[in-house]
Symmetry: C2
Subunit: 349 residues, 2 copies
DNA sequence: CTGAAAGCGCTAACAC
DNA sequence: GTGTTAGCGCTTTCAG
């Protein structure tokens, strides 16, 4: 059933039918009712490809994420972000196109998106420090919003991001105010933008409280359980072991828990641990475990906001860069001051 | 730069240029070379919408997942599956469309996909027992492949799935052969197809070895850490506590570990635990923890296979249902026979 | 081997 | 208010 068929059935011209269906003002209410009823009855669905070709709008948004981040904490985060964005697109009648592209082919990917005309806008995921993609996509001249930020980028651009610095500053301050003076930071690789901001927050908290921060307590690596485990093991074996640890993500957090247990220590009593997780839904805080604290914010909401921002840019045509910084919702749970860690250790070989 | 522009530049007709670019045989090698070179030089990219309209092929695949499964173990699994599928699509020049649709709107979603002409085929995720979507989509008459299976469906359909029954049968057999006689199963909700199959495998192993399986040792619930924790806690408090536990997923597995530790027991010594995870990359088995065993298979590979299957169905036009059952790659790690659990327990209040 | 012409299904001037 | 006429950019008969 095409528009033409429907028009023939109704004894009208395709134009009128089109206008009636698309809510143009110049069609009479009577005809509109007839047309809509008939369209409904015949189960008519406009062909988007044809409409796209005629209007120039694809009614689709592309999400691009670099293949290289497949083993980062990106995986679950990405899924949630996309779910949130998808919600908004669905409401607005847009489709969502996902493409996972190797670093080297990013430039081509954007160009293709543009020239193939398959999307009206793009969401860029997992930016690095000074990510070259920002420049690439700006040149291609297609509306886009970055999920996260890319420090040191020389061109202005639109983004939606969590306030990573603030979240870590608050978490760190919390520990400092409890009396902790040696706090370790288990962070992601510093080529990821968020990792740098988190470290800055960690340091800022120290500076604000006049407590020196020891570089030998700051670690950055791939966010695996192994990394959390080994780092913590080594930390606890030191004569100047920290009394608290802040983990940048859930996964190394699991390793941290394990290492603490292996050392014969107890979380929340001997060592305070804060595990930051962008979306706690994966690892609900059991409550009865002495897991010290956790920070929380909704990635899904970030997805929704990014989608709304992009759609607005597209429909308004106003491409002046806009930004949206989401405050993390911190859950700073059952707390305790510093304990003489080293004294309580049994065997960590 | 459109085909017409390019043709004009070359002093050829659009037809010839099209044929040259699309590898039709009747064009001379000389012209083809010229055309290809020019296309390259000008950075010409065919407009997919126009091509789609002309050919009737959308060159895109839709992935539909029900909104209801957002809090299932679906999240990370979905991300990986999609990454694998995306790889194949990219190579074949297809786009990937994702839509997250509420249960109630599934029927309409498929119809829209079909009539809007935005995709050539669909991948259905997270099927339930006798999932009605299978019938819906079959009626709509668009090629599709199901990721997982929906038992009790009356129509035949194509699917790619893990051999969940076999994986759990093997894991259970492993424990039985070590001498365990009371094994608990911490499983997902049984409206999910895989949960049922896993239980069947668990039971089949017992039957094959002539060991009775106790219904009071089988649990099914939402796969949260809390569920794993509470179940294990209660299990260990029983006078007839099991000597081994099999967990259907990583997340409750974390709770299981915690409950065992809280009970003053040690995994792999006092209680043998097998945590099944479709993709261990999220929780690398540390190796030095007495985590007993784990099963492993690549969700990403399943995504690749499903994508290939669907593309083949589409291009060949042969819609006779095909199936692909992937064997899980089991890692049945450091093992131990049963220990008198109850005797070793300290305090679990 | 190449080109002219028609059309995919829809929208958007421009008339009436 | 409604219809007519051109396209959107590409593929595909059908001629030559």
């Amino acid at each position: 059933m095409t528009l033409k068929d429907l028009a023939k059935e109704l004894g009208l011209s395709p134009t009128t039918v089109s206008r009636a269906l698309n809510g143009f003002p110049e069609v009479s209410e009577a005809t509109r009712k007839r047309v809509v009823a008939a369209a409904d009855a015949y189960g008519y669905r406009p062909n988007m490809r044809a409409r796209s070709l005629a209007t120039g709008r694809a009614m689709a948004i592309g999400h691009v994420l670099p293949l290289s981040s497949e083993h980062e904490m990106m995986n679950p985060v990405f899924a949630d972000f996309v779910a949130g964005a998808g919600e908004i697109y669905a409401k607005a009648g847009y489709d969502m196109l996902i493409s996972i592209v190797a670093e080297a082919e990013q430039a081509r990917a954007y160009e293709e998106f543009k020239h193939k005309g398959s999307v009206d806008g793009i969401i860029v995921h997992a930016p690095r420090m000074g990510d070259p993609r920002i420049n690439l996509i700006t040149e291609v001249d297609i509306p886009f919003v970055v999920h996260g930020r890319a420090s040191q980028s020389d061109v202005p651009y639109s983004w939606v991001d969590m306030n990573n610095q603030r979240a870590f500053q608050r978490a760190t301050t919390h520990l400092l105010d409890l009396g902790h003076r040696r706090i370790a930071l288990v962070n992601g690789l510093e080529n990821m933008d968020f990792a740098i901001r988190r470290r800055r927050g960690f340091e800022a908290a120290h500076e604000a409280r006049g407590v020196p921060h020891d570089d030998s307590l700051k670690f950055s690596g791939e966010m695996t359980e192994q990394f959390g485990h080994d780092t913590t093991r080594a930390l606890l074996a030191r004569p100047d072991a920290p009394t608290a640890i802040i983990s940048s993500s859930m996964i190394p957090g699991i390793g941290i828990r394990r290492a603490i247990r292996e050392a014969g220590l107890e979380m929340g009593r001997d060592v305070s641990v804060i595990i930051h997780d962008d979306d706690l839904s994966y690892l609900p805080n059991g409550g009865d475990e002495p897991l010290f604290t956790a920070t929380r914010s909704s990635v899904r909401d970030a997805g929704r906001r990014a989608a709304r921002m992009l759609l607005d840019i597209i429909t308004s045509g106003d491409t002046t860069p806009r930004t949206d910084l989401l405050e993390a919702e911190l859950i700073l749970g059952p707390s305790t001051g510093p304990a003489p860690v080293a004294a309580r250790m049994t065997d960590i070989s």
